[in-house]
């Protein structure tokens, strides 16, 4: 399951750097985007569709993205989401009553704030009359939030939407075991002391063993890292290639950070701690150092390591999207059009992480574009072995013919 959004840029050099999700900032090729000059579509004059409203990104912000278990570790997810929303309000000065709807994406839900969008919006000072909901679709939950917003805008339901995403991997809901929960619920219902005692007598020590949220796919019981390692092996991506690509990503991210290009980051003052102003996971290393690491998932001979994977991340983002006429009427200078999107899904066992391969050609065709029309792609993925495997797949006629039902790559 993955998605790719293509968006044609208006003639603005600074891009909307909204975060797609918590992870992969260091791996994405973001700085290229900035280097890209004003882009004109080459094969088509406009990507506007007849009788459909143009949708624009007014602006977007995000909190600094931190390694899990660092400065954000005592917060709750809605705290981070609230920070992003507050940042957006400051950045755009959008009057809170014009916001029609708020949508957030998240993967691992905190049960106390299962509709985290609403809790964060209330705390951030949005109107309590603005409805909000939360969506989930694994790694692309925040994209799902955006495209849900696009749907509401194109259908004319709304004119102004805030979409965002939040993840706090520092704390995850760890539950009592099913048996323990059942006993506790039954105890609630028990009326007499006798009933309670008889229930308690059924208690066994193993009831206390906790239930951790699955880091694995439910259908295959395989973790993402494991799947990525197998994928890299299937496409014969070497350890060196992966390390080199990861190093490139970190270096580019570092460059962007140093040159102050990550203008979407808003500082976050953690209660009782310092004010956080930048991502702490951008750490260019050397190939020699990276080569020393042991594989993280498939031991002892796998190729995916801590150095060529994204880290577990805490962070949140929010963006303001509007119908174009509304944005212009309000005096905004939008940063981008949201033109088209495509969701795909494949076999969760062997092709779990091959989404870009399937989605890229489809979304280009849907928009009537070719590779030559695009100056920069931005893929958000968690493992360099994975994105390299996707590149190899996209570059293969064999794969296109045998698995994608296409004549050529």
């Amino acid at each position: 399951m993955t998605t790719i959004l293509t968006y044609s840029f208006k003639n603005l050099p600074s891009t909307s750097k909204w975060a797609l999700r918590f992870s992969l900032r260091p791996l994405s090729c973001s700085s290229q985007l900035r280097a890209a000059p004003a882009v004109q579509t080459k094969s088509k004059k406009t990507l506007a569709k007849p009788n459909i409203r143009n949708i624009v990104v007014v602006d977007g912000v995000r909190t600094p993205f931190l390694l899990s278990g660092t400065s954000y570790k005592d917060l709750m997810p809605h705290d981070l989401a609230r920070a992003a929303l507050t940042g957006l309000l400051h950045r755009t000065n959008v009057p809170k009553e014009v916001v029609d709807y708020i949508i957030f994406g998240t993967v691992i839900q905190e049960v106390k704030t299962s509709n985290v969008a609403r809790e964060a919006a209330l705390g951030a000072g949005f109107s309590d009359k603005t409805p909000a909901h939360t969506v989930t679709m694994a790694c692309i939950s925040a994209n799902q939030a955006m495209t849900t917003g696009v749907g509401l805008l194109t259908s004319g339901q709304c004119d102004v939407i805030v979409a965002g995403g939040v993840e706090l991997m520092s704390d995850v809901p760890i539950r009592h075991s099913r048996k323990m929960r059942k006993m506790m619920l039954d105890l609630n219902k028990a009326k007499t002391l006798g009933q309670r005692l008889s229930l308690l007598s059924k208690f066994r020590l193993n009831f206390l063993s906790p239930e951790l949220p699955a880091v694995a796919e439910f259908s295959t019981s395989e973790t993402m890292g494991h799947s990525a390692d197998r994928l890299a092996a299937a496409f014969a991506v070497s350890r060196l290639e992966q390390d080199e690509y990861a190093l490139r990503s970190h270096s580019l991210a570092k460059k962007a950070q140093d040159e102050g290009l990550l203008s979407d980051v808003v500082p976050f003052s953690v209660p009782g701690k310092d004010t956080i102003t930048k991502d702490n996971g951008i750490r260019p290393s050397s190939l020699e150092q990276m080569a020393k690491l042991k594989p993280a998932f498939i031991k002892p001979y796998g190729t995916v390591t801590a150095a060529n994977s994204s880290f577990l991340t805490d962070g949140a983002s929010a963006m303001l999207i509007m119908a174009e006429e509304k944005a212009l009427a309000m005096g905004y200078k939008p940063k981008a059009y949201l033109r088209d999107f495509m969701y795909v899904s494949q076999d969760p066992k062997d092709q779990l992480l091959l989404g870009p391969t399937y989605a890229t050609p489809k979304v280009l065709e849907k928009a009537g574009l070719t590779m030559n029309d695009i100056d920069a792609f931005e893929f958000h993925e968690a493992f360099s072995g994975q994105i390299l495997a996707n590149f190899k797949a996209m570059d293969s006629d064999w794969f296109a013919q045998n698995h994608m039902g296409r004549k050529t790559k």
């Binding site: 014969a236 062997d350 092709q351």
Partner: protein
């Protein structure tokens, strides 16, 4: 051969040496030229690692033949002699098979034990040399690694296996009445410990890769890969090879140790086994268990214990000697010949002789959600068939669906399926009370009550809703298919599919064709049966077809024997000690007394006096009292939920007493009782072949063993006649004929075989 020698000498040239040290050519060079020279094994060199690829020509599996053995020795000698090579990887070029075992035909062709001993000793020597190799050898295992294949793998210094369902390791020799004769009995106990080794060698069970890793049978696992730039299977083998090569290098460089860390339990067990007393206790216990289970009918397990013991107590040399000698002895036994015959028969009955059906069955409908219907549904959905299960009532349907779910869930408990896979499989099943969706059915299997008019009714109802190409199959144990097909508008599409209960456990499927059944219909039924994982015999229509017809006279004899005041428990022990898995009286209870009565009546009418013997009255009285066997809780025995020990049903005493007959002393010894049962069975089976109900003796043997529990050590009724001697069978029959009359009259074909000793069912 010449070419391969040429390579050997070429490699001594300095030029090549330089090329090799650069490490970029040799693989394709040596690989391809060696390919020219050898047909079973070729090898290439990657850096300083030799990659030996096993690929038996013209076969889906690799088997250890004399040629392969010779080539292997040759290749290994080259590897050991080469200065460039520091380690080796052993891998198969065939997806789904490492080495499936030794060539059975090679053993079957041996005339004397000495020949077999020689084969064993040669293999022992080769593998011992391999074990002592100073250059580490890594076995890269993907697919079946069985018998001789496993013995080869465990002689290597290191084993890496792909973790998929196709990869199984095991020593199935015991199932062929043999023992692992290439050092397996000596190496396994050292590798996995004595108790686990006994379990493997004595049961012959297949061990999946992840379990093998836990046992210490393999050192590393490789996850199978998905599709990449080539087909998944191909890339997985390539990847396995890459990983194996890296480990081979590591072993040669001593950066990886071939020794495995043992867990605390393993260490404790290993310590306990250093105490002679503990070892003696284990031997004793295992032997007791084996004696109890085999009843002394199978020689192999006892010899296996003996050989393992010799190796441990007297050292490896004595162990090897004992292993090869016992292997030779076992290969000559009747039991082994019978079991090998069954193996061949099974292979034969796993093929579709009728070709590929015009239309593949994708949508299956089953009528009747009883034990049978639900059982058929279970083995269908788990092979991905969209299956409709229709019943007349909601409770009946609910029970059937629960049965399917339970069957699948049991697999989850055994970790053969994940709960997610179970749910996905279960979603292939649609339960319903009407005929909705039957317009898309490619095949309908009815499993309603054994009542002709009911079967007629459902046939007509179904034919009104199904498409033209749809096959109508009837699951019945005795009603002639042509009678069922009599009301069909399209009798060429009607066929019999006789499943055995419990369907998910019993391997046999008996397919019955009428004179009007078309070949394509048969092909379709066989294809579905094979998909369901069945061993299939195809027989002609007739009362009782083949299996029920053979069983009926034996059952009649069972009743007579009970009337002659043989206690049901005694009868059970007589039959099980002859090799039947279930005692005769218990069998009646399991089948159901009402069913037995029904069949006895029907076949009695069809075949008359010949099927007589015991009095039907016994069954009639039992049915009237509600003693229907296990399903009603009472039959000859009493059945209670959760109670394992069986007690006789004392209420049967009066029934048996009222029908008792005086035993005839000249034919009532224990042995005579056993042979009265078996000879009637065998005589009827041979008559089925004589009448053309059966097409081949092999199908007759497979049907009898896999469907009716005929003693596997005898190989089936036809193999039994061949091995026991037709004359002796006829003599027995004549003796009993004198006492009881024409129920024992030997059939013509049997008399023909007795008359000319050269005549055999299996040449």
């Amino acid at each position: 051969m010449v070419a391969s020698r040429a390579i050997g000498s070429l490699s001594r040239f300095p030029v090549l040496r330089i090329l090799r040290s650069r490490g970029y050519i040799c693989r394709s060079f040596t690989g391809s030229s060696a390919l020219l020279a050898r047909s079973h094994i070729n090898y290439g060199v990657k850096g300083d690692v030799a990659v030996v690829r096993i690929n038996s020509p013209n076969s889906k599996v690799n088997t250890l033949t004399k040629e392969l053995h010779l080539e292997f020795v040759e290749v290994m000698n080259e590897i050991w002699a080469s200065d460039q090579i520091r380690s080796a990887v052993l891998i198969s070029s065939k997806p789904g098979c490492f080495v499936a075992g030794a060539d059975i035909n090679m053993l079957a062709a041996c005339k004397t034990p000495q020949e077999v001993v020689q084969i064993s000793q040669e293999a022992q020597r080769t593998f011992e040399k391999l074990e002592k190799s100073t250059k580490p050898v890594v076995a890269a295992i993907s697919g079946s690694c069985l018998g001789g294949g496993l013995e080869l793998a465990i002689s290597c210094q290191y084993r890496i296996a792909t973790k998929d369902r196709k990869t199984v390791l095991g020593t199935p020799e015991v199932l062929l009445g043999l023992l692992p004769g290439a050092g397996g009995t000596q190496r396994l106990p050292k590798m996995v410990g004595v108790p686990a080794a006994f379990d493997m060698i004595l049961t012959g069970r297949n061990i999946r890769a992840d379990r093998a890793k836990k046992m210490g049978l393999v050192d590393q696992l490789v996850e199978p890969l998905g599709p990449g730039l080539k087909p998944a299977e191909e890339r997985t083998i390539e990847y396995l090879e890459e990983v194996a090569v890296s480990f081979a290098k590591g072993l040669a460089d001593k950066t990886i140790s071939p020794k495995r860390d043992k867990g605390l339990m393993e260490k404790l067990t290993a310590y306990a086994l250093t105490i002679p007393f503990v070892r003696q206790q284990i031997y004793k216990k295992v032997e007791e268990k084996v004696r109890k289970q085999t009843k002394g009918l199978y020689p192999a397990p006892l010899k296996i214990i003996d050989v393992v013991k010799t190796g441990i107590e007297q050292g490896t040399d004595a162990g090897y000697l004992s292993e090869s000698q016992k292997f030779g002895e076992l290969a000559m036994t009747k039991e082994s010949k019978a079991l090998m015959g069954l193996y061949h028969g099974q292979v034969l009955c796993k093929k579709n002789k009728f070709g590929v059906p015009q239309k593949e069955v994708k949508n299956l409908a089953i009528l009747g959600a009883g034990l049978m219907g639900a059982g058929i549904a279970q083995v269908s959905v788990d092979k991905g068939l969209k299956t409709i299960l229709k019943d007349a009532t909601l409770p009946g349907l609910g029970r059937g669906q629960q049965q399917v779910f339970k069957g699948l869930n049991d697999k989850v408990k055994k970790k053969a399926l994940t709960s997610f896979e179970r749910d996905a499989i279960f979603s292939n099943l649609t339960g319903q009370l009407d005929y909705q969706g039957f317009e898309k059915a490619d095949m309908v299997i009815e499993a309603v009550f054994e009542d002709l008019s009911l079967k007629h009714r459902v046939l007509k109802e179904v034919e009104a809703v199904i498409p033209d190409h749809c096959v109508f199959a009837s699951n019945t144990s005795a009603l002639p298919i042509s009678e069922i097909a009599a009301v069909s508008k399209r009798p060429e599409k009607v066929i019999g599919m006789h499943y055995f209960s419990p369907v998910d456990k019993m391997q046999l499927l008996e397919i019955i064709t009428t004179q009007k059944t078309s070949k394509d219909t048969t092909a379709s039924a066989v294809a579905i049966g094979l998909k369901q994982g069945k061993v299939i015999i195809v027989v002609k229509d007739g009362p009782g077809f083949y299996t029920t017809r053979c069983l009926a006279p034996m059952m009649s004899e069972v009743i007579r024997i009970l009337q002659e005041e043989v206690d049901p428990k005694k009868l059970d022990s007589l039959t099980t000690s002859f090799g039947f898995p279930v005692g005769a009286a218990t069998l009646v209870d399991e089948v159901g007394v009402d069913v037995a009565k029904h069949v006895a009546e029907d076949l009695g009418k069809a075949f008359g006096e010949r099927f007589g013997g015991g009095s039907l009255e016994l069954l009639t009285q039992m049915v009237s009292k509600g003693f229907l066997g296990r399903k009603s809780g009472k039959g000859f025995y009493i059945y209670q939920e959760g109670v394992k020990s069986k007690n006789l049903n004392s209420d049967m005493d009066s029934i048996l007493a009222s029908l008792k007959m005086p035993p005839k002393s000249e034919v009532s010894s224990d042995e005579d009782i056993q042979y009265r049962l078996v000879t009637r069975f065998v005589n009827e089976a041979v008559m089925c072949l004589q009448e053309g109900i059966l097409a081949t003796p092999a199908e007759g043997d497979i049907g009898a063993v896999f469907g009716l529990g005929f003693p596997p050590c005898l190989g089936g009724p036809f193999r039994f006649v061949d091995l026991y001697g037709a004359q002796k069978v006829v003599d027995r029959l004549k003796k009993y004929e004198a006492a009881y009359g024409n129920q024992f009259t030997p059939c013509q074909l049997l008399i023909d075989h007795a008359a000319s000793p050269s005549k055999k069912f299996y040449q």
